[in-house]
Every structure is written in structure tokens, then in C-alpha cells.
Symmetry: C2
């Protein structure tokens, strides 16, 4: 039974980052720890009461396709209605269209709670938010006025329609055609992997579709973005005719069974009516602006599922009696066994580190969007750009590992589906794939986020981490181990980054062959930095009767330093010397 | 479509270990590379033609329980009949009971092929072999004569019946009661997780059951082993009455769906008739003698599934067009992308390393069982005892990771069940749990295999590895990197081992908290040693027209050294310094 980890989340928001992180941000002045606490408590209540009970049943039942559409698993439609009635879709959306402007830092924390309680459910509002975001960035005033208010309120949902059977990571291969007709286009083509592309939640679904206008250049420079509503919307906002777009099947997947993954046919008849968003041939660019934000939201899924896996494993370990505790002869619950403790503490400290890094990245997005000082905005944007592929890649890869560890804690029961631990591994496995695989994230990190500025944004982050960790030499002794380990990690990262920047221009294939290990190194070291900061804070408050949460925090910071951060040693070695073995091997020798 | 990797397997058997590894072994004189090749080719034909086509259908259909028994998935019963007709169960069994004595090294290689082609299928013969092995070690002459010939021929199958709902890793908690009645016992109790405990393959199933004779001491010293046939066997070998043992349900599992995992009720009526094996209260001891061998057989499942995952990922990467190759502008298959190459080469080199270590361990079992020199037998037994928990733990943990990597290579298609990549992750996940979790293996390694002799057997292995690697300084330059990396790994292992032996007596909880990382370190370093040896062999033969397989082997040895072995750096750090953070944290702070 999942319980939202409110004290862990508020520790990061209030004590590790602190509301002062948003100082100077215009439009976020109302944010306060009290406001955040209120929102988080309500989110916890909703997640625990409404979403969590549907997690296992949704997995078992899945979504059902028929000619007339997709029926969601029992209870999901009602839960969505309550979600809308509760005003949750508005949280974090643009106030101009009815949204409630709160920091991304807070919506990221709330989204974690949705994703932990019910990952399949969480995806529909996430995609709606993404579609609305893309429209708000690039749509015309009229388009925004027509679609956004109802998308922001969740009365209509939205999708991102990118992939085709032959065009996944490489969207330049998209073939879906758009034929001009008056003020709109007719679209023809098949799209796959469309998350929540069809369902029974709402009257309408607004698809944001990538397609190629006839005569456009080949490759990525010839792709445009279109609004393709499931049901056409009249100028007065009322629903008109059914559009020529149809879900022709849904996938049979490893996990997230309650989330329909749709094959969508556009233009089986006269062509699907679509409305160009922004300028022709700039669709990919628009999509990528939005995608940065979506990738943060997928990254958090990695630790959200891990948090749930940890809670379930902890519950099992606290009640399952097996063997004797060290030095004792009485039967003991398995939480007393050293290896079980190692697994649980490893999970816990990893989740805490991932959450801290992700909320820090979200905070950078807030500063980038709201700060009154343009230079501060630009610096924060550069940092967010750098962090997001790391959050996406590292948190999801580590999340898969931790969900598997959660199974292991259960022993044989972990392999039995009814236990629920296996579902988490099945669910979380997709997170390292959708919204760009880990390889794609690492390419982005290497090519765009480090290669283009010669590593300047990363060097600035490294310098800041180092300076802060050096100041932490003055922290209480209990925090020293976490600080020393973090500093060693920063040194390893710096060495790797320098090696990689040089390699990227000298031997780009070698650099590409170690881009994922480098991304993982970045993640572990960023986690080490923020865990060291957390340890310093916790050490100051660990004494006395109220100190137990801080003592627990100190313990997990210590475990992170001693059990997780050492991976940086191997990753640094792989980055500095491992590329040639891969790059130098021709494909025919594999 | 799985194809048995015969050239990779014979490279290890013939060139890396070589038939000379069995010199001095009485009873294995007939073994030769030609004999092995013949057996392996036949096994490949059977696996590819009969077992492989049932792998996916068996997963989809699963086994079906009803009051009257368990019906296996379509085709499985026929495949098993052919398996028996082909004489496969006899391979490696005791000649006295109709078996064909071949080295364990060869049966290990053959079992890999079964496990790759169809893991669910492979488990039934494996369990039968295990049950027969336990009986042959500890049964009376009459018991052996009555049961073994038909078990060895596969006409009856066997099971290992250990686990109870409250007694998994801790078998001391077993409650199943055995009440004496004349020359036999009546058993009462419920057992769970009984692999192939019931099925429609054969007329009879011979259960080897752990139970507690009334009045026996509590804990592990009061457990006895019983033969409990599904159908009682008359003295003349004919089948008599149905015994009071019944499969009451089968589990709904993450993977290996075609393998029925049974809840078995003993003694719902008058009590299940059981025959004591060996002496009372020594059941656990008998089981553990057999289990060493079973653990090797489970360990190989880790790389067997990885091999299959690799083959499928390779096929996808060779045909899927996406993006452009580095420096080119034409569309390229994804095998040309650096990160995909990294994943594939990492999988391939890991599989090769795991196979080499496992076959080396199997070879030690052969020497331990067959060598004419008692001292050589004892040394080989000590080494096998040391290696087996490493093979079991390391190969299965790494196998899970690699099956997940196989999904990743497929991108979005990997998450779709029809692709088949996801099944491999679901199937292989159990291997790190059954026959003793990784934590149990690490405990065994630390407590029994290192703690008891103060690390002497491990020190002997380390010295041998070091001496051989030092000799390899004379190997061709192409093999140098693999050798240098392996030597560094041995140094890290030595340092860790010394630290751990000291810690084990000084601070046993700390040692226990790093036992799994230590086990993994052992695995990676052993792999590095044998990959360095392989590189030296391959380097000598890589020139010329026939050299391509050797050049490929050299490349994967290089990748292992540069991309896998560096993990030893982090593991060594965790072992030497990571234990206190876990051991020092009381459970209530988790």
C-alpha cells in the first residue's frame, strides 16, 4: 500500500533547495512551504484514496480495444473524472488559460506522487499537459483560445503523435503526409506507440501530430506540427463531426497495461483534418522545446516507481520472519539481515538522491522561466538543459535496477504476480525507452549540451559543486563521509568531462561509445553532491527527540556515499578508456 | 530465432580449457572434442527444431491447473517425449543406472542450449536430474534400484520439495510432519514453489521431500529427506495406488509461464506415503550436497537467456534502419550506432565471460569426481565449492541486466510482448532467486567457502590467476589490454579478499553487508582472467583468412576489459569501505 513520502519530499523542497531558490522569480511569489504542504497533502490523499487502489486491477485488466474505441480498465474513467473535478490538471498550467501557476518544483513533486500511485494513470494527464504546452508555445492565438482552456481543465485530453513503424528515434524518417486544403490540411498515415491515443475518458482528444507537408524537404527539416482533434471543434467551441482518425489496435505490452498504447490511422477515408501549428517545417523544433519538459516528467517516473517498490519491499522485510539476526538465536524479520538491509538502504538512498537531483532540475526550469534577471534566466536554462537528459537517463535506468531489487527482497514471492513487486519492474521498464531512449539522452547530453559549448555549462556546474563541497568541510563530523565521497565524485566527473570534451572533437565515435556511462556518472555524482548537502543539513538537526528523521537521512546519505557513489570509479575509467574498444570494432565482428 | 552458439561453446571447451583439463580423470577417457562436437550438434538440432518453437507459445499459453492435474502448454508433452526418446535425460547420468557418463563440462554446455531455447522446458529435466542425484548420493540400494533407472531415462520425472510458506531461505522452519508407520512414513504438510510438481508428461513423479519426523530436534538438525512418489511403486516396479499428494494450485508468475510452479498438499487424507532417504535428520545435508550441482545448472541459465537475448538484439540491430552512421549521410542499420554497438558488445563479451567461468567450474567438478589423484580431487572440489556460488550469483544477476539491455536495443519494440525480448527479462528474473537467492549465495561464499578456511582456497585461485596472467605478458600485443586489465582486477580482488577475511572475524555484520558486492567482484575478475586467456589464444590465431572468429573474439575480450571489468574498481571500494554504512544503520532508521 503506497503512502506518499511527504516528509522526504518536503525535506528536499523546504530544507535542501528551500523556497529561497525561487527568490527573484516573478509570478511565483505566492509559493511558500505552507502552500506546497497543502497541495502535497491533497495530492497524497487523492493518490492514496483514488489512484493507488486501481494500480493492480488496472494492470490485470488492461485497456480493451474494439471497433468503437478503447474502454479503459474498471474505475479509471471515474478516477479521471475526480481528477478533473479536483482541478489537478490545472496545477502548473498557464494562468491565462485557467491554470494555477505554481513552481515546476512543486508540480514535479506532485507528479511523482501520481506516478508512484498509478503510472499508467499518470501518463494521460502528462501527455495532455505536454500537448497543451506545445500548443501554448507555438500555436496561434485562435488555436490557443479554441483548444487550450478545455485541455488545461482536462475536459479534453491531448496526445503527442510522433512515431511511425519505421521512424522511432529517427523522426527524420516520418512519412505521414499533409495535403493542403483551404485553411487546413488533410493528413494520411499510420502512427504507432501513441500513449492514450484513444480512450473513454472524454468527448474529445486533441492530437498533436508530426507530418510532412507535400513538397517539404526530406529529413528533419521537412516536418510540421498539426492539431488533429478526434472530433472537429466548431468556431464556437461546440463539437462537430468525427475526424478521420481512428485507433486501429492497442499494443500488448510488458507493463503499464492500463495505459492504452495505440496504433492510430490518419486518413483512412477523406483524410484527417489537421491545422498547422506555427510555421511549416518547424514541427520538430517545436516538439523538442516541449520535450525537455516532458523528459523531466518521465525521469521522475524512474524514482517514483522505485519509491513504491521500496515501500512494498520494506513492508515485506518488516514482517517476513526468516533466519536469525546476527549474533542472536531468536527468529528475526528479514530486515535484520545485512544483505536485505543493504538492498533496502541502497534503494532508499538512491530514491532520495534521484528525487533531489530532479527537483533541483525543476527548480532551474522555474528560474529560467520566471527570474527577473535575464542573465540568471539564461544560466538557469543552460543548467536545466544540461540536467534534463541526465535526469531522464539516470533516474530511469536506476529505477529499473531498483524495481528489480524490490523483487529480490521478496525472494520467491517477488516472482509471483499477485505480490505486486513484479508489476513495478514491468511498468518502469518503459521509462528508459519512451520520450527518447537512454542512448538518445546521452547523445543529447554529449552532442548538444556539452559538445556545443565545449563543456562550459558542465564546467560551471562542476565548479559550483566543488566550491559548495569545499565549504562543507565545516559541516558536522557526521556529514563528513558523504561530503568527502561527493568531492571525490566531482573530481572523477571533472576528469571524465575534460577527457570527453577532447574526445568528442578528436574521436567522436569513441565519445559516443561512452556517452551512456558518462551520463550515468553525471547522475551518480550529482546525487552525491546533493546527498552531501542533505547530510550537512541533517547532521545539524539530528540531535534530540525530534531528530529521528534526520538521523535516518544521515544514514541513507552515508549509504549512498559508500554503496552507490563508488560506481563513479568504474564509470570514470570506462569513459576515459572504454570507447576505443567499441568504436574500433566493426559491426561485422559483433 | 535462436541458434546454438556452437563455435563459441567449442572455443571454450577445446581451446580455452581444452580436453587436457580432464587428463587423469578415470571414466572420462572417451571424451574428445569430436565426441563433444557430435553431442553439441545433436543438442543444437533438437533445441532449434523442437524446443525453440515452443518458447513463445509456452509463455503465452502457460500451464493449466484443474482438479485432475496440470496440463502443460501445447506441444510440451510431445517435445518431452522426443527428449526422452533422444536419450537426452541419460546424458551425464550415472552409468550404473543407464546413464551415459560424459564430463560435467559437456553437460553444462548442453544445458545452456536447452535453457536458451526454452528455459521453462529445461527445468523439468534439471529437477529430475537433481532428484536422481540426491537419491543416488543418499538412497539405499533398493531405493536406487526401484526409482533411479526410470528417472535416469526420464520415464518418471523428479522434483525437489523444500519450500513452505513460512520457510524459504530458512529451511530450518520447515513444519511438514512425517509420522512413522511400519517401513515407511506418513507425511502431512503444504509445500510451495515446487517446480514441475505436477504435469502430464509422465505416469509418475518422484518427489524428494524435506520433512520433520515427529520428535526430531527443532531447526535445521531435525529435517529428513523422503521419497514421496505421486503413484506408489510396487516392489516389482509396477505402479500401484495413487499417493496422498496433490497439486492444489499453480502460481501466476512474472515468467517461465510454461513451467508449472505448484502448491503441493501432502496428506490431505491418510497421509502421503514417504520413504526415508539415508538417515533421519540428515535431509538438509543430503540436499545441500546435491544443491551445489543444481546451482551450477541455474547459474548457466543466466547467460543462456542472455545469449538468446543477444541473438535477438543482434538480429534487430542488423536490420532496423534508423539514423545515419557516424560521418555518413546514408540511412544506416542501428548496429552502426556507437551506443547500440556498446550494448551488443557488452552483452556478447559478458556472455562469453560467464560461459567461460561456468565451464571452468564444471571442469573442476569433473576433476573432483574423477581424478585418480586424491589430492587433485580435493583441490578441485575446494575450487568448485568456491566457484559455484559465484557462478550462480554473478551469472544470474548479470543475466537479468543483459536481458534488460536486450530490450533496450529494440527501443519501443522491446516493450511489446510479441517481440519476445520482454519474455527473456521476465523469464530470467527468477534465476537470481530460486536455488538460493544471490544473498544466500553470497552468504555461502563468505561464510562457508571463505570464512571456514580463512580464504585459503580463494588465495590459491588468486595466486594461480596472477601467475598465469604474468606469464601472458609474453602474449601477442593484441591481447595485452585484456591481460593488463585482468591483472588489475586480480589485484583488486586480492585486496578485497584480504579485507573481507579480516572483516569477517572482526565485524561479521559489515562483511555480510558487502558479501554480494564481493561475489560480483569475484565474478567479474574471474571473467577477466579467462577472457585474457582467451585473448591470448585468439591473438595467436587471428591472422589470415580463417581468423575472423578469432578477431571477433579478440574484440569482445577488449570490450570486456574496457567496459565490464572497470566495475571491479567500484566493487572493491564498496567491499573495503561500504559495509559499515549498512551494518551501522539500525533497521528502524530504514
Amino acid at each position: 500500500m503506497y503512502r506518499a513520502p511527504l516528509s522526504d519530499i518536503t525535506f528536499v523542497l523546504d530544507e535542501l533547495l528551500g523556497p529561497e531558490a525561487l527568490a527573484g522569480c516573478r509570478g511565483l511569489e505566492e509559493y511558500s512551504p505552507e502552500l506546497a504542504a497543502g497541495v502535497l497533502e491533497e495530492a497524497a490523499r487523492f493518490a492514496e484514496g483514488v489512484l493507488e487502489p486501481l494500480n493492480k486491477t488496472g494492470d490485470r485488466e488492461g485497456a480493451h480495444w474494439s471497433e468503437s474505441g478503447v474502454r479503459t480498465a474498471a474505475g479509471f474513467k471515474g478516477a479521471y473524472r475526480k481528477f478533473v473535478e479536483g482541478g489537478w490538471p490545472q496545477l502548473g498550467a498557464d494562468a491565462e488559460y485557467g491554470g494555477q501557476a505554481v513552481p515546476r518544483m512543486l508540480t514535479t513533486a506532485v507528479q511523482e506522487i501520481w506516478a508512484s500511485a498509478n503510472l499508467a494513470f499518470k501518463l494521460c494527464p502528462m501527455l495532455t499537459h505536454g500537448a497543451a504546452h506545445a500548443l501554448s508555445l507555438s500555436g496561434s492565438k485562435a488555436q490557443k483560445a479554441l483548444y487550450l482552456p478545455r485541455m488545461v481543465r482536462g475536459e479534453w485530453t491531448g496526445t503527442m503523435v510522433l512515431t511511425e513503424p519505421h521512424a522511432g528515434s529517427d523522426l527524420g524518417l516520418i512519412r505521414t503526409r499533409a495535403v493542403p486544403e483551404g485553411d487546413h490540411y488533410r493528413l494520411f498515415g499510420q502512427k504507432i506507440f501513441i500513449t492514450w491515443g484513444e480512450h473513454d475518458y472524454t468527448d474529445n482528444i486533441i492530437h498533436m501530430v508530426l507530418a510532412r507537408i507535400e513538397g517539404s524537404p526530406a529529413g528533419t527539416r521537412g516536418i510540421s506540427m498539426f492539431i488533429v482533434p478526434k472530433v472537429l471543434v466548431r468556431a464556437d467551441g461546440s463539437l462537430g463531426e468525427r475526424n478521420d482518425v481512428r485507433c486501429v489496435s492497442i499494443e500488448h505490452k510488458l507493463g503499464i497495461h492500463a495505459s492504452p498504447t495505440c496504433v492510430m490511422a490518419f486518413g483512412e477515408g477523406p483524410g484527417a483534418t489537421g491545422y498547422l501549428v506555427g510555421e511549416a517545417n518547424r514541427g520538430l523544433e517545436y516538439m523538442f522545446i516541449m520535450m525537455n519538459s516532458a523528459r523531466l516528467s518521465v525521469g521522475l517516473e524512474g524514482y517514483a516507481v522505485s519509491e513504491r517498490a521500496l515501500q512494498q519491499a520494506l513492508e515485506w522485510a518488516r514482517t517476513r520472519v526468516q533466519g536469525r539476526a546476527a549474533g542472536g538465536s531468536a527468529p528475526a524479520t528479514i530486515i535484520h539481515h545485512a544483505d536485505v538491509k543493504r538492498m533496502l538502504l541502497g534503494m532508499k538512498s538512491s530514491v532520495q538522491a534521484m528525487r533531489a537531483v530532479s527537483l533541483y532540475a525543476a527548480c532551474q526550469l522555474d528560474v529560467a522561466a520566471h527570474h527577473t534577471d535575464a542573465a540568471r534566466r539564461a544560466a538557469a536554462q543552460a543548467r536545466a538543459d544540461l540536467l534534463i537528459p541526465i535526469v531522464k537517463g539516470w533516474c530511469t535506468e536506476l529505477g529499473i535496477e531498483l524495481a528489480s531489487t524490490g523483487i529480490q527482497v521478496h525472494g520467491g514471492m517477488g516472482f509471483i504476480e499477485e505480490t505486486g513487486a513484479a508489476q513495478m519492474l514491468r511498468d518502469v521498464r518503459i521509462t528508459a525507452i519512451y520520450e527518447g531512449t537512454t542512448g538518445i539522452q546521452a547523445n543529447d547530453l554529449l552532442g548538444r549540451k556539452i559538445g556545443r559549448d565545449g563543456g562550459a555549462a558542465l564546467a560551471a556546474l562542476i565548479a559550483e559543486m566543488r566550491a559548495e563541497l569545499e565549504r562543507l568541510a565545516a559541516a558536522p563530523p557526521a556529514a563528513r563521509a558523504a561530503r568527502d565521497a561527493a568531492l571525490e565524485g566531482v573530481t572523477l566527473l571533472e576528469r571524465s568531462a575534460n577527457a570527453l570534451v577532447a574526445m568528442h572533437s578528436r574521436a567522436p565515435e569513441q565519445a559516443a561509445a561512452v556517452a551512456v556511462p558518462f551520463l550515468m556518472l553525471c547522475g551518480f555524482v550529482l546525487g552525491g553532491w546533493l546527498m552531501a548537502r542533505a547530510a550537512a543539513t541533517a547532521a545539524r538537526r539530528a540531535g534530540g527527540a525530534d531528530g529521528e528523521p534526520y538521523r535516518a537521512r544521515l544514514a541513507s546519505c552515508g549509504v549512498y556515499a559508500a554503496q552507490l557513489l563508488p560506481r563513479a570509479l568504474g564509470l570514470e575509467r570506462i569513459v576515459s578508456r572504454g570507447g576505443e574498444s567499441v568504436a574500433g570494432t566493426p559491426p561485422e565482428l559483433i
